[in-house]
């Protein structure tokens, strides 16, 4: 029984259906040696350990030193780096920016993706063409996307001329130099780039929904609005788990789009943690950059695990 429970939990955790019972019976019946040798794990674990886990452990150590390009010796300094980043206010400011950015991206990317999926759900040739086209930004380099929007959003740019034509008077709004709202606009650009991926995943989710259930609801007199919220939306839970989790994690660790649109400005109001890390590394302040890298690691871990757990639970309840 315990074996069954753990197997199913593992299968659920990976999103795969449980293993068919035949295999377990066969393994128990014959008592042969497992057919997958341990050494098959070695190459993957060796690369993962050397180039992922060891740097992470280094990170824990070097965040507490005065490592920089100006000195040859590296000495432990305790919590000095954290103190200086906290007292200058940059740590909390950048952390706040990063979290707000990630939440905005997760929100917009999912709203855009879901709306596109619903709009393009029917299998017409126009819809198929539109789906392919909306995937083009996903393929483009994020850096390139950032430059395109920097041009679009210039005070004399295309967006302002379109708005000006609509309003009937010239518009000269500096979209990327607004200390209050630029973060929002950059998050919208990020969501624009990735909405095609969210759309595809929602489309796949919509395809798995049983057509008979929808038909039954329709016969019972449910409106399109009711069938969506009562039947289709809850069944999109797995797609939403994937989309929210990837959008949150992806944008927490974002760099390119912000760098190419604002470079962290105006007045550092869009400076997310990776921009800080890039900037301070360039200045030779390695310990400060490492400290911020550790902060990013901790924050992502703190945010990610509850998010995934909550979303998974929502799936299992349904």
């Amino acid at each position: 029984m315990t074996l069954t429970a753990s197997t199913d939990a593992a299968a659920l955790a990976s999103g795969a259906p449980p293993t068919p019972p035949g295999r377990r019976a066969a393994a128990r019946g014959r008592r042969v040696r497992p057919g997958q040798p341990w050494w098959f794990l070695l190459p993957a674990l060796a690369v993962l350990t050397t180039f992922f886990l060891v740097p992470t452990i280094y990170n824990l150590v070097y965040a507490f030193t005065d490592w920089s390009s100006f000195k040859t010796a590296i000495n432990p300094v305790g919590f000095d780096n954290f103190h200086s980043l906290l007292s200058s206010g940059v740590l909390l400011a950048d952390l706040r920016t990063t979290v707000i950015y990630a939440l905005l991206v997760a929100l917009f990317q999912n709203v855009f993706g879901l709306l596109l999926a619903l709009l393009l759900e029917a299998d017409t040739s126009l819809n198929r063409f539109a789906r392919v086209m909306f995937f083009v930004p996903v393929i483009m380099s994020a850096l390139a996307v950032g430059y395109v929007f920097q041009a679009l959003l210039k005070p004399t740019g295309v967006v302002n001329s379109i708005l000006g034509a609509l309003a009937g008077h010239p518009v000269r709004y500096a979209w990327l130099a607004d200390t209050r709202w630029t973060l929002l606009y950059v998050a919208l650009i990020h969501a624009w780039k990735w909405m095609g991926l969210a759309m595809l995943i929602y489309l796949a989710g919509l395809k798995t929904i049983d057509q008979d259930a929808l038909e039954a609801a329709r016969i019972d007199g449910a409106t399109t609005w009711q069938t969506f919220w009562q039947i289709r939306f809850p069944l999109l839970a797995p797609a939403m788990t994937f989309n929210v989790a990837t959008a949150l994690l992806g944008s927490m660790n974002s760099f390119d789009i912000v760098q190419a649109t604002t470079g962290g400005g105006p007045a550092q109001t869009t400076e997310i943690l990776n921009i800080f890390i890039y900037r301070t590394f360039g200045q030779g302040l390695f310990a400060q950059a490492t400290t911020m890298s550790l902060v990013l690691l901790v924050v992502i871990a703190v945010m990610a695990f509850p998010t995934i757990w909550l979303l998974r639970r929502r799936e299992q309840v349904l």
């Binding site: 753990s6 593992a10 299968a11 990976s14 999103g15 795969a16 293993t19 035949g22 295999r23 497992p34 057919g35 040798p37 794990l41 190459p43 993957a44 674990l45 690369v47 993962l48 050397t50 180039f51 992922f52 740097p55 992470t56 280094y58 990170n59 070097y62 709009l119 126009l126 819809n127 539109a130 392919v132 995937f135 483009m140 380099s141 850096l143 390139a144 430059y147 395109v148 041009a151 210039k154 004399t156 295309v158 624009w192 991926l197 995943i201 796949a204 399109t224 797995p238 797609a239 994937f242 994690l249 660790n253 590394f281 390695f286 490492t290 890298s293 550790l294 990013l296 992502i300 695990f305």
Partner: protein, 278 residues
């Protein structure tokens, strides 16, 4: 079906879709293409208008091809992406086979560690330190191993999930017939993994081909890749307002992936959606 809903489908819906396509995609993409063909004077303030001083596609593209070292950057990008993908798929599939088929506490623990990289961000600064100690800083080998380390968790996660859905009878039959694990893996398991390997390849190529952040730290200033050189061209170009050159480079660097996408569009789309939602 009611009359209103039919009217929506026939008339309003195509108008909405075409309008959205023009507005949300047409405007940015047209801006890139038209600006990349303008003279410097016409491109100073990028607009959707046609050029006033004629087309300059040839001049702009050839200038940026030389200044941005596009050929060298293309070769650099390919020689990083291809080995990374091969290592990720091979090592990832080998490990995933063990994780998917064997049971027990040790396997679960190792699996948790192996997929932690999906969630946790790489410690990029100390990664550079480690590469210096290993003598791999600024080398293509170092870059390949870094990407392999960063995306190994993603590869293992996707492939393990897929193997769990394949019944193991075939492998067991082969084992009873006396085939060794290496032979079983390469002749039976790997061919069955084609769909998930395709999905993983697409996602990993997208990430690595377009990455500039990790490339900055590991090989920035020493090796050429397409995004790194775009950053150089753009940093100089923004200062001088050379939008025509920036967008010419954007077009040049987007072409390889767009061509690949156009050729394999159906497979890519079904590959991605197949892997994410089961």
């Amino acid at each position: 079906m009611s009359g209103a809903s039919r009217g929506w489908r026939r008339l309003v819906h195509p108008v909405v879709v075409v309008g959205l396509l023009l507005f949300a995609l047409g405007v940015p993409l047209w801006l890139v293409v038209v600006t990349s063909g303008k003279s410097r004077g016409d491109a100073l303030s990028p607009s959707l208008a046609l050029p006033r001083h004629g087309w300059h596609f040839g001049a702009n593209y050839s200038k940026v091809f030389t200044d941005g070292r596009v050929w060298s950057a293309f070769v650099g990008s390919v020689s990083i992406v291809v080995p990374s993908v091969v290592l990720l798929l091979l090592f990832g599939a080998m490990a995933a086979w063990v994780f998917a088929r064997r049971r027990g506490f040790a396997v679960s623990m190792l699996y948790a560690v192996a997929i932690s990289g999906i969630v946790l961000p790489p410690a990029v600064i100390t990664l550079v330190l480690l590469l210096r100690q290993l003598g791999l800083a600024g080398t293509l080998t170092g870059m390949v191993l870094v990407y392999t380390g960063i995306y190994m968790s993603t590869a293992i996660f996707f492939i393990t999930g897929f193997i769990r859905t394949i019944p193991p009878q075939l492998e067991e039959a082969a084992r009873v017939d006396g085939a060794g694990p290496v032979r079983i893996f390469f002749t039976i398991v790997v061919p069955l993994l084609r769909p998930v390997l395709a999905t993983a390849t697409i996602l990993i190529c997208l990430y690595i081909w377009n990455d500039v952040f990790y490339a900055f730290f590991v090989i920035g200033g020493r090796k050429d890749t397409l995004p790194l050189n775009l950053f150089q061209v753009a940093s100089a170009g923004l200062y001088l307002n050379n939008w025509h050159l920036i967008f010419a480079y954007v077009v040049l660097m987007s072409v390889p992936l767009l061509v690949a996408f156009a050729v394999a569009q159906r497979r890519i789309i079904s590959g991605i959606t197949g892997g994410a939602v089961k």
